[in-house]
Every structure is written in structure tokens, then in C-alpha cells.
């Protein structure tokens, strides 16, 4: 081979060297693996190597990058990692640029390898070239490989460095992107919150604001601008606010704002805005004071458009004012804050002239105010429902009774927010109740027959108590129906009632005299004007009487008994309540007077009856004179005989005193009997008022038998008694004696002319119902046929000389004892008379 070959070889070598030196340009911007692949491909081709292997330690401590290239026609399934491991032990020592022979990692036999570090040390990697040629590597090959390794080392370091930078750049970029995303999201939230807030403010008609009094700076939310109807571009100021405030509220708002700016305290106020279009808005402003580090105060607050609520409230007030009740509300502390129009109309005041606190003092009756205030204080303090009955003055000055009630309004947690009160006019009800009570008391007095004067006086007082300033009088009409008599007028001056007493009724006789005359109510609204009073004007005038309404007190048959009158010292006409009271009083007076008249009538009748009963007794006794004389005669005869006997015993030669004493004892008995009979007879003749006492009916029967025995004997009538044990009765002894005597003499009379048995049987017994039953039976002619029911009638008699009053009187006596008297024919012969009497409880 000559120099030509050498030259050629050198030229080829230089070309190769240029190619290797050009590699970095190719590698620029490439990744490490690409650099290695290109390097190995170039070296394998250039040096006709059997294999080339490169390993690059990764900068980020990951697994190394290993690449292997095999020479032409060589194929091996071997992986770069296995290749690396096979070569590894030859590479551990510093084999750089050394040459050694090693087993072929990709086949059989041996192979010469040359290894070079990539970069200054092994930190970057290693390059291994292998060839079966024995001379491998030649100097030139070694040079080429070393240059290539150096170039690759630089390229790889560049690639590594740029990769690192790229990674950092990417990481930064990523972080920026992340941050950007976060910020974007955050901004979205803020934007959303702002939108929400604006929407919420718009919906709730609540704007917000900030205000720094020290600088005058005011910040408004969108809604605040809208509420005040200022353009968003306007710079809000206190002056702008005040421009919008309703003129009537301006002073107060200004004051509030000024005070807040001075004392820097929370404030809250409500006022009206007068909008440019003339409409009115109600706003409620709440502001909280915040202090910043510098010590100056800043207010943050809300402006609420409460127009709708106010309008609703106005509607409620309209409704409340339409309710026919007096309604009011009070704050939790008890101060009135609303009074319905009705209330104000009733009292005749308007809110402008009166503050809530003094309303009570202005309208409630002085006698009730203290009670009212005490109760209200207690209710407010304890939070309990309030109730009081008070008199409230009407616009015309009249006080009327009201039931005042209030209930606390609680929030959910039970705190009292305020009070709702309502006052009900109970005047008519109260009066009706009082009148009814009075009416009951008077009826009670009438029922227990209290003296008429007392009843009428009470009646007058009851009615007078119902109406302030009312004076009443009751006049009675004399029995002649012409003259009036004083009845009751405790409140009228005595000289006046004296003057009225005895006056004549007539068509023009004041209110009362005319009312009694006409028998219809007379209403005189003004005594000084009414012609009816002309004759009596001078009588009434000194006492100031101006109105007098009188109603006649009439009997059922329409006869006038008197009058009830109402007087006032001012001209006026009766209200419905007064008319009602007048009617009631007249009615009650009528009952009382009629009852008194009836009582007097009854008394007269009773006296007449007593008189008649007495005559009946006297008559009966007169008829019995012979029998009574005989009855007295008997003991007298016995006494005479006994007296003679007594003397006889004493007149003996040896007087028998014991026998004489026995005779004398008999005289005593005889005389006693005679005295008794005379006494009983006298009792029956006596005129006495009925007396109630406990009476033993059996005893009365026996007494009457004693009196009538002679009469019975005279007509050969036997008297039989069957007397059971009886309780006593409450009654009049003489009257009961009279009844029994009547029945027994009737029985005797009935038997005088009959043949056969003549027996008068008197029985007494107690019935199952506890009453006493007494029967007087005879065997006489029996009751008059077809006239049995008439025998108790007055003046009915079958006797030639009878008065016809005996049974009539007997029945009235029995009935006045709560009993009954009747008659029936006996089944065989004669008649029986039966008396029932209620038994009296023994203790009575």
C-alpha cells in the first residue's frame, strides 16, 4: 500500500473527523437518546465496528439511558441493559481510552473493545466500541472515537442542560397556569358574590353604605343608588341624601346624622324620601360604627326601602280603623305607639294634639286612672295579659264603661315585642247587668213583702245609680184617683216633694200628673219650655230641674196607681238606655204597689173571714147552748152531791174524816171539769187572730167530744173514736176545734131524725204519705142528692136555720193549714167528712 493508500486513508480519516466534528450541529436541540443513537450509528458505519454501546447517566437520578448498535449482519436479541451488564466489569476500573479483549457480549468469541468516558468524568456516561479486528483500535480510530466521545459529551451535557431548563420552564409554566386558573376561579367567585350581593340588595331593596364622617366620604352600593335614585356616577354626600329626604322628616334626619357624626355611635332611624316624581318612599336606616386604627369612626350600614311594609301597615291600619272597636298598640315598655282612628274619634281628639302617655289621663275617669295605671304597670312588668274595666270619656264629655284588654306579642324566643290592646264599650252591658242585679234585689224585697216605701226607695236608688246626674221619684195615686201622694224620692229636695204631695192629676199637670191622667208616658225635655209644666214651673225652677220624663204605673186593667219619673238638671231627651231603665222601674214599682194592694185586700178578706168564722162559732155554740148547759150541769150536780156526802160524813156522831176527804177530792174533780168546759166554751166564743202553734189533733178531737157529748146523748147518738198515735201539726187550735165541732155537729144534725143506729165515729190516722187523716162519719141522712158538690159553697144549707157558712169556713181553715177537706157518702148509711193535714216536724 503506498502513500496513495495512506493519503486516501488520511483523507478518509479527515472526512470522518469533519463528520464527527459536525455532529454537534446535527445534535443541536436533540435529546440525549437521539444524540447517542446518532453517535453510535455514525461510529459503527465509520469504523466498521462490530458493536457500539453507550450509556448515559440520567441527571435526574433515573435509570441510565443505554443504547447499543451492532455491526452489519449481526443480529442479537440482546437488550442494551444486558449488553451493558456484560461489559460492566470491564468498565468499572478506569478503562478510559484503554484497549482490552473481552468475550463478545453479542455472540461467541472475543472482541476488542475501546471505552471512553462521555464528559470529563464518568458522571455523564460511557462510550464503548467493539471490533473483532485484532488491531482495533488503531491510533486513528482511537482519535476519532475520543473526539466523537468529547463531542458527544459536550452535546449530551448541552442536551441535559437544555432538558433541565426546559423541564424547569415547563414546571414554571405549569405552576403559572395553575395559579392563573386559581386566580381566575377566585375572580369568578368574587364576581359571582358581587353579583349575588347586588341581586340580593336589589331584591330586598336593601342598599349598603359606608360613611366616614371625618372626610365626608360616602360609599354606596348599587341598590343604595337605586333607592335614592341617583346615578351611579354621582358621588354621594350628606347633602344629596338630605335633598331626597321628605321635608317633614328633614330636620329629624339632619339631627340624627349630625349627632352620629359627633358621637360616633350606632344609629338607626326611619324616614321618608320624596322622590323627584313626587312619590314617597319609606326607608329604614341602620348603621354600625367601626373605629379604625387611627381612631376615626367609620359607619357601615344598610338602607332598607320599607315602603311596601309601610303600605301594608297602612292597609292594616285602614282595616283596624274599620273595626268597630277601639284598638291600640304599645311598645314592649308599655308606651302607646298606635291608637286607632275609632279610638280617637270616640274621644274626640287627634294624634297631633296628644301624646300617647297622657292619653289615659286625658280620657280615663279620674277614679279609674290609678287602678288602670297600676294594672298596666304590673302587666307590662310581668308580661301577662292585661284587663281592666274603666270609664272613658266620650267626645261629648260622657263617661262610658269600657273593658280594656291587651295581650303581649312575643317573638319566637318569647321576648315581648309589643302589646295589642282593644277597648270594648261595655257601658250598655254594665248598665244592663247593674239594672238586672237591682231588679233582682227589688223583686226579692217584693217577694218577702218588704214595706212598700223601702222597696220604692231602693228602686229609685238603683235607677239613679245607672246614670250620672239622674234623680228619680215615685208618686202614688190616691184611692180617689185624683190626688198624688208622695211615694219615694230620696234624692229630691224635701220642700219639692212636699209641694208635689196632694196635687191633682190632670191634662196639664206637669209630667207625672199628666202621665197618670193620660195613662201614658210623658216626656218633657225642658220644663222651662213645655206648656205641661206651666202651672208648676215656679215649683221646679228653684231646684234647677229642666228635664222630667214620667211613666204611669198601671194595673193590668189599666188603672193608674202612680208614676215613676226621671229628672235631670239639664234639658235633654231620654236615651234608649234611659227609656229602658224607666220602663223597668215603672214595671217594678207597679208590681210592688199592686202586691201591696193585694196584700191589703187579702188582709181585709182575712179579717172578714175571721169575723165570719167567729159568727159561725157563736151560732153553733148558740145552737148548742142546751147541750153545753147540760155539760156544765153534770159536774155541778156531781159536786153538789159530793158536797152533801162530805158533810154527811162529817156530821156523824163519829165523823169519818177519810170518807169526807174522798168526797172533797171528788168535789175538786167535779169543779175542775166544770171549769174546763166553761173555759173551752169561752175559747170558742173568743174573737182572736189566728195563732200558729203545735197542736195535738187527737186532743182537739177529745175536747170537742167533751163539748158535744151532751148534744150527742140528747139525740141518743153514741160517739166512737179510733185515734192513732199522731205527730203534732202546726196550726191554730181554735180554728181546728171549730172545724171538728162543725163536722161533728153536722153529723149529729144528720142523725137527729133517722131511725136505727146513731153513731158518730171519729177516726184519726197517719197516711202512707205522712199526712194526718181525720174522718168524721155519721149514720145520718147522707149528703144531699145531686148537690154533694155544693155543700162547701157559701150559703148552701139544708138546715132551716143554718147559715150555710160552716163547711165553707171549715174548708178555708183546713186549706189555710195546707190540708184538704172533702166529703163522701158512706157505703151503708150516712156520710163521712175527711180532713188531711200536713204533719209538722216535731222539732218545729
Amino acid at each position: 500500500m503506498g502513500s496513495t493508500a495512506e493519503i486516501k486513508r488520511l483523507q478518509s480519516c479527515i472526512n470522518d473527523l469533519i463528520s464527527v466534528l459536525a455532529l454537534p450541529a446535527i445534535w443541536s436541540g436533540s435529546k440525549s437518546s437521539q444524540i447517542l443513537s446518532t453517535l453510535l450509528d455514525v461510529l459503527l458505519t465509520m469504523l466498521r465496528l462490530d458493536f457500539a454501546y453507550a450509556r448515559l447517566n440520567d441527571a435526574s437520578d433515573g435509570p441510565p439511558i443505554e443504547v447499543v448498535r451492532l455491526g452489519d449482519h449481526r443480529h442479537s436479541p440482546i437488550q442494551p441493559q444486558q449488553f451493558g451488564q456484560a461489559l460492566d466489569r470491564w468498565l468499572t476500573a478506569d478503562q478510559t481510552a484503554s484497549r482490552c479483549v473481552v468475550p463478545d457480549p453479542a455472540g461467541e468469541g472475543e472482541v476488542s473493545i475501546a471505552s471512553f468516558s462521555l464528559g470529563l468524568h464518568h458522571e455523564v456516561g460511557v462510550l464503548v466500541a467493539g471490533s473483532r479486528r485484532a488491531d482495533f483500535p488503531t491510533e486513528i480510530e482511537r482519535l476519532l472515537l475520543r473526539v466523537a466521545a468529547n463531542q458527544a459529551g459536550i452535546g449530551l451535557q448541552d442536551a441535559q442542560r437544555s432538558g433541565e431548563q426546559r423541564r424547569i420552564a415547563e414546571m414554571l409554566e405549569q405552576r403559572v397556569a395553575e395559579r392563573t386558573r386559581q386566580l381566575t376561579a377566585a375572580n369568578d367567585d368574587v364576581r359571582r358574590s358581587e353579583a349575588y350581593l347586588a341581586e340580593a340588595q336589589r331584591l330586598s331593596r336593601t342598599g349598603s353604605f359606608g360613611w366616614r364622617p371625618s372626610t365626608g366620604e360616602i360609599i354606596w352600593s348599587e341598590e343604595t343608588f337605586r333607592i335614592f335614585q341617583y346615578d351611579r356616577t354621582t358621588i354621594p354626600t350628606v347633602e344629596l341624601i338630605l335633598q331626597r329626604v321628605h321635608p317633614e322628616d328633614a330636620a329629624l334626619v339632619k339631627q340624627t346624622i349630625e349627632r352620629a357624626s359627633q358621637d360616633g355611635k350606632n344609629f338607626e332611624h326611619e324616614y321618608r324620601l320624596l322622590m323627584p316624581d313626587g312619590s314617597v318612599k319609606h326607608v329604614h336606616v341602620v348603621a354600625h360604627a367601626l373605629s379604625n386604627e387611627s381612631g376615626s369612626v367609620e359607619f357601615v350600614g344598610a338602607v332598607m326601602d320599607v315602603t311596601a311594609a309601610k303600605e301594608a301597615e297602612d292597609r292594616i291600619r285602614l282595616i283596624i280603623n274599620a273595626v268597630p272597636a277601639l284598638i291600640w298598640t304599645a311598645r314592649a315598655d308599655g308606651r302607646l305607639d298606635f291608637i286607632s282612628q275609632r279610638w280617637l274619634d270616640y274621644a274626640g281628639i287627634d294624634t297631633g294634639t296628644i301624646a300617647g302617655g297622657e292619653l289615659g289621663e286625658r280620657t280615663v275617669h279620674p277614679d279609674d286612672i290609678e287602678q288602670l295605671q297600676n294594672k298596666w304597670r304590673v302587666a307590662v312588668a310581668e308580661g301577662n295579659p292585661f284587663e281592666a274595666e274603666i270609664r272613658v270619656r266620650r267626645f261629648d264629655g260622657e263617661y262610658r264603661w269600657f273593658l280594656s284588654r291587651a295581650c303581649p306579642l312575643h317573638d319566637r324566643s318569647g321576648h315581648i315585642l309589643g302589646w295589642y290592646g282593644n277597648d270594648i264599650d261595655i257601658e250598655d252591658r254594665t248598665r244592663a247587668v247593674a239594672l238586672r242585679d237591682g231588679e233582682s234585689r227589688i223583686l226579692e224585697m217584693i217577694a218577702r213583702d218588704a214595706p212598700l216605701e223601702e222597696i220604692l226607695e231602693k228602686l229609685v236608688r238603683v235607677v239613679e245609680a245607672q246614670f250620672a246626674g239622674l234623680l228619680c221619684s215615685v208618686l202614688l195615686l190616691d184611692e180617689d184617683g185624683q190626688h198624688v201622694r208622695h211615694g219615694a224620692a230620696p234624692s229630691l229636695p224635701k220642700p219639692y216633694t212636699d209641694a208635689i204631695d196632694g196635687l191633682c192629676i190632670g191634662p196639664k199637670a206637669g209630667s207625672c200628673g199628666t202621665a197618670m191622667y193620660r195613662r201614658e208616658p210623658v216626656v218633657v225635655s225642658d220644663i222651662l219650655q213645655d206648656p205641661l209644666w206651666e202651672p208648676y214651673r215656679s215649683v221646679a225652677e228653684p231646684y234647677g230641674f229642666r228635664a222630667c220624663w214620667s211613666t204611669p204605673i198601671l194595673t193590668h186593667s189599666g188603672k193608674a196607681l202612680g208614676s215613676f219619673a226621671m229628672y235631670y238638671r239639664e234639658p235633654r231627651s231620654p236615651s234608649p238606655a234611659e227609656t229602658h231603665a224607666l220602663e223597668m222601674a215603672t214595671h217594678l214599682a207597679g208590681i210592688a204597689i199592686e202586691r201591696r194592694l193585694a196584700r191589703e185586700e187579702r188582709e181585709r178578706l182575712r179579717q172578714a173571714q175571721a169575723e165570719l168564722a167567729h159568727i159561725n162559732r157563736v151560732t153553733t155554740m148558740g145552737e148548742l147552748t142546751a147541750s153545753l148547759a147540760h155539760e156544765v150541769n153534770q159536774p155541778i150536780a156531781a159536786a153538789l152531791t159530793d158536797a152533801n156526802t162530805c158533810l154527811r160524813w162529817l156530821n156523824r156522831d163519829h165523823p169519818d174524816v177519810e170518807e169526807a176527804r174522798q168526797s172533797a177530792l171528788r168535789i175538786v174533780k167535779d169543779a175542775t171539769r166544770a171549769g174546763e168546759i166553761v173555759g173551752r166554751t169561752r175559747l170558742l166564743f173568743r174573737k182572736s187572730t189566728p195563732q200558729r202553734e203545735l197542736v195535738d189533733v187527737n186532743e182537739v178531737i177529745r175536747e170537742m167530744i167533751v163539748l158535744l157529748r151532751s148534744e150527742a146523748t140528747r139525740y141518743s147518738i153514741s160517739v166512737r173514736t179510733e185515734l192513732a198515735d199522731l205527730p203534732q201539726v202546726m196550726g191554730d187550735r181554735v180554728q181546728l176545734q171549730q172545724v171538728l165541732m162543725n163536722l161533728m155537729t153536722n153529723g149529729i144534725d144528720a142523725m137527729k131524725d133517722v131511725d136505727g143506729t146513731r153513731e158518730l165515729a171519729i177516726k184519726s190516722q197517719r197516711t202512707d204519705s205522712g199526712q194526718l187523716l181525720i174522718s168524721v162519719s155519721d149514720t145520718g141522712v147522707g149528703l144531699p142528692p145531686q148537690q154533694a158538690d155544693k155543700i162547701f159553697d157559701a150559703f148552701f144549707t139544708t138546715k132551716p136555720h143554718g147559715t150555710g157558712m160552716g163547711l165553707r169556713i171549715s174548708r178555708s181553715i183546713v186549706e189555710s193549714h195546707g190540708g184538704r177537706l172533702w166529703a163522701a157518702d158512706n157505703s151503708r148509711r150516712g156520710a163521712s167528712f175527711y180532713i188531711t193535714l200536713p204533719a209538722q216536724v216535731e222539732a218545729a
Partner: protein, 130 residues
């Protein structure tokens, strides 16, 4: 000489005071007597056989003394009767005397009058009352 049975005065009067008064008076003059409230009681009693007389009240419950006098006569009872009455009247006394009454005394009577009537009715009483 004393009779076999003591003479007895029978007294019928519904008034116990009058009965006991007459009995007491008869006792004071030594005369025996028996008293009855009603004629029925008298009829039911056992009458001694000795001399007797009857002091009879005209008015008796259920039956009059005059009727009883007739009843006794109709029954064949022979006994002198002395009537006593609270309120005698002439027709009644005539009727009684005609029917055989010994005497008709009106209360109050003197006791001697009754004794005389008794003696008149039955002489043995005079001896007894010595």
C-alpha cells in the same frame, strides 16, 4: 131481821163524776150500790136477788133512758126506776111516770130527794139506811 141479801141500788149514768158522786152519797147513808156507764153493761152484770132499785140517767149514748125502761118492761124485768136528768122537761117526765117510774129528778138534785125516792121505791132500803 136482815133480809137474805142486802138491798142494792143500781146506777146507770154515762158521766163518771155523777156516777161516783151518787155512789159516794149512798155509801154515806149505808146503802150498797153498783154503777154502770151504759145499759148494756148493766144487762151484762149479774143481779143479786135481793131488793133493788135502778137510778137511770134519761140521756144515754146510743139509747134513751125511756127506751131502756120499755126494754126492761118488755123483757119482764121488774125493778123500780128513778130517773135523773140534766134537763128534764114536763112531757118527758110525764111519759116516764106513766111508764111506771118511781121518781123523776132533775140534776142537780138534793141528795135527800134521791134517798126519799129510793126509800119509796123499796121500803127495805129504809131499814138498811137506818
Amino acid at each position: 131481821m136482815m133480809p137474805a141479801a142486802a138491798p142494792t141500788v143500781f146506777v146507770i149514768d154515762d158521766d163518771d163524776l155523777v156516777r161516783t158522786a151518787i155512789q159516794g152519797m149512798l155509801k154515806s147513808v149505808g146503802l150498797r150500790s153498783e154503777t154502770f156507764g151504759t145499759p148494756q153493761d148493766f144487762l151484762r152484770s149479774k143481779h143479786p136477788d135481793g131488793p133493788s132499785c135502778l137510778v137511770l140517767d134519761v140521756r144515754l149514748p146510743g139509747v134513751s133512758g125511756l127506751d131502756f125502761q120499755r126494754e126492761l118492761a118488755d123483757a119482764g124485768v121488774r125493778i123500780p126506776i128513778i130517773f135523773i136528768t140534766g134537763h128534764g122537761d114536763i112531757p118527758m117526765s110525764v111519759k116516764a111516770m106513766k111508764s111506771g117510774a118511781v121518781e123523776f129528778l132533775t140534776k142537780p138534785f138534793r141528795d135527800q130527794d134521791l134517798l126519799d125516792a129510793i126509800h119509796q121505791a123499796s121500803p127495805p132500803f129504809l131499814a138498811a139506811s137506818g
